[in-house]
């Protein structure tokens, strides 16, 4: 029988099936952060049970953490309390905990792959919708709610019906200035934020095989923004090279054994998907969003679409443009911006800082722009310093902050003020996402860099040789 990559991984993790109900799915790796876990741990306490497989759960602090002066006590008492609760719970249940100040600390979806916790063919969950990031390695990875976090802690399983399968193929070559982020924003703009709801996506085609592992993570990360439970890419030589010799990947004979499983992780030739979509990679341009959901994106040189051409209701569309204080038919190029944010689980990896540096090198940050450059982890931070990127950033007038989720969701002090515009490499441009009343434009690190030096929306291709 022909199977998809998704079938192979899912089916091999089904403990049991319930007739006209969900599958009981075994979870190989569970990642935990401070925001969505305390109530789950409280549930365990109330039921008087321990974590079943503590070695399969990994905890890090990221959502609430400050991105300056991390050596000082956390000022916000609620954030401090939540961070303390995670530390206490991790210690109580013998779970690895990489808290604030720990050398391995960083955004959960950045550190998982960095230390080899993320592996091909694994089932990976976390109480965070961007868990889909780990699909870049050929894992089934998706976000869960707190009730499910409690299920995984107590039984290492969740109960979910098997999703439908979609394959998105993008062939061709990406042109100059077009990044993995643009590919993802392009696909979401075609599908809308609900176009893949009910599906698990496999990305295939030349564009993804050519893409770096970091780029694949960016694409899989954004799968949730078109409604998909997750997205995955078949592992290849690049994947195996990336994970080899990382702390938590198997070594020696164990590696060889794992390779037997991993090398079979691809979609069989005649396997059938519930839905297939094909796009031309050659036609994708640098993208930017203009509205209040990630589906509202266009090529940077295009005008804001007319309301009558939208799938969403006209009132919803107009409400969105009102919030942004934009009008139909306006050009995005030249629009003034106030903040830039480089970071998040979407674009907070070393490759993203390299891209950003490429454009700002030898130039100066615009004086009217506040820039927050936040590495995804201490490992990324170290690489930025070691590769000489920090020097480039400093010469251009930028400062580097300390790792965390930061302005992506503004749970810490990194909040964009009401009415201000932020061009951001993060994943959501929802109303108030980066601070109450803030206005977010999602884009690639290149677009963010170009905006940082001009103070307005600028085509990054003007700055690339």
């Amino acid at each position: 029988m022909s199977n998809t990559l998704f079938d192979k991984v899912w089916d091999s993790h089904v403990v049991s099936k319930i007739n006209n109900g969900p599958d009981v799915l075994f979870i190989d790796r569970h990642m935990v952060h401070e925001v969505t876990s305390p109530v789950a741990f409280l549930g365990l306490k109330n039921r008087n049970i321990k974590v079943l497989f503590p070695e399969k759960t990994f905890a890090t602090a990221d959502h609430n953490t400050p991105t300056i002066n991390q050596h000082l006590p956390v000022k916000d008492p609620l954030s401090a309390n939540q961070l303390k609760a995670l530390e206490k719970n991790a210690n109580l249940h013998d779970i690895s905990y990489w808290g604030l100040g720990h050398e391995k600390n960083g955004i959960v979806h950045v550190v998982g792959p960095e230390y080899g916790i993320t592996q091909p063919g694994a089932t990976i969950v976390c109480g965070d919708s961007h868990t889909s990031t780990h699909g870049a390695f050929g894992a089934i990875a998706f976000g869960i709610g707190t009730s499910e976090v409690e299920m995984v802690l107590s039984t290492q399983c969740i109960m979910q019906p098997k999703p439908k399968k979609m394959r998105i193929t993008v062939d061709g070559k990406l042109s100059k200035g077009v990044t993995s982020k643009d590919v993802a924003l392009f696909i979401i703009s075609k599908l809308s934020t609900s176009g893949a709801t009910g599906y698990f996506v496999e990305y295939a085609g030349e564009v993804f095989t050519e893409m770096s592992i970091e780029g694949r993570m960016t694409v899989c990360n954004l799968s949730i923004e078109m409604g998909a439970r997750g997205g995955m890419i078949a592992p290849d030589k690049k994947t195996f090279d990336y994970i080899k010799n990382r702390e938590f990947t198997p070594k020696g004979k164990e590696w060889d054994k794992a390779m037997v499983y991993w090398s079979n992780l691809n979609t069989d030739e005649n396997a059938v998907f519930d839905k297939e979509l094909i796009f031309d990679g050659n036609s994708i341009q640098p993208m930017i969003t203009y509205g209040t959901n990630p589906g509202m994106g266009i090529s940077i040189s295009k005008e804001i679409p007319k309301a009558e051409n939208q799938d969403a209701g006209i009132n919803t569309y107009k409400k969105s443009l009102d919030y942004m204080n934009y009008s139909e038919g306006e050009s995005m190029i030249g629009k003034k911006i106030d903040f830039v944010f480089l970071g998040s689980c979407t674009n907070g990896r070393i490759e993203d800082f390299r891209e950003f540096a490429k454009i700002v090198k030898g130039r100066k940050k615009a004086s009217n722009v506040t820039a927050w450059l936040v590495p995804g982890s201490h490992k990324v931070e170290k690489a930025i310093k070691n590769e000489g990127i920090l020097k480039i950033l400093k010469q251009a007038g930028f400062k580097l902050r300390e790792p965390g989720c930061s302005a992506c969701l503004a749970m810490n002090d990194d909040k964009v003020p009401a009415g201000k515009y932020a061009v951001s490499t993060s994943n959501r441009n929802f109303e108030g996402r980066q601070g109450p009343g803030s206005r977010t434009l999602l884009a690639s690190p290149l677009v963010v860099a170009a905006a940082a030096i001009t103070g307005e929306i600028t085509d990054p291709r003007n700055y690339i040789k």
Binding site: P22, L78, Q119, T131, T155
Partner: protein, 198 residues
């Protein structure tokens, strides 16, 4: 955590005819800092409901006494975005037991089912009928019957069936939760774990 059993609900409703209502609107991230599940209803739709100075926004439906009830009716693609179960908690804590929409985001739907809020997906036409009758007469009652999987507007004499898998339906009818189920098969899970490749 157990929840109130759900059988049949007869109630007026609160209409929110906006599409793509995301979980950041349902409960903004800055209100996710609690370590216990208490008080989330106070911040339900916080930034749509209150001005920055905490005074209520009069035009928002939750601040309008005309509309109330245990059913929230939202536009297409309700609950998109973040996996925060706090969104479902906030809806429950505020006093809603059911959300009706023509389309739900996956994670939000699952979270609702896990905590005892019934997500009812109806056709776009039926959703329009609900919105129209509620705007015409805010006292319009809806009946959501989980047992026979039907939602009806008695004043119009119309109804529509909705889907829910049998397992989740039994859970909601009886107030069961998944952890009890999983704890009962713990031995087979431990056995299964011995043969996993990773």
């Amino acid at each position: 955590m157990g929840y109130e059993k759900f059988n049949k609900l007869k109630s007026t409703s609160v209409p929110l005819p906006i599409e793509n209502i995301d979980t950041d609107q349902i409960i903004p991230a800055r209100f996710l800092k609690a370590t216990e599940r208490i008080g989330f209803g106070d911040n339900l739709f916080r930034d749509w409901r209150y001005n920055p100075d905490n005074s209520p926004k009069k035009e928002f439906v939750l601040n309008n006494d005309t509309y109330n009830g245990k059913i929230l009716v939202g536009g297409k693609n309700f609950g998109s975005g973040s996996s925060r179960e706090h969104a479902a908690w906030a809806i429950y804590d505020y006093g809603f037991r059911c959300v009706i929409s023509s389309f739900f985001a996956d994670i939000f739907r699952g979270n609702c089912l896990n905590i005892g809020v019934l997500p009812v997906q109806v056709s776009p036409e039926f959703l329009d009928k609900i919105f129209n009758s509620v705007f015409e007469n805010p006292k319009t009652e809806l009946i959501v019957n989980l047992k026979n999987q039907k939602v009806s507007i008695p004043s119009l004499g119309v109804s529509e069936s909705f889907n829910i898998n049998k397992y989740k339906k039994e859970n909601m009818l009886n107030g069961y939760d998944d952890i009890d189920y999983l704890m009962n098969i713990k031995d087979s899970i431990i056995e299964f774990a011995k043969n996993t490749p990773l």
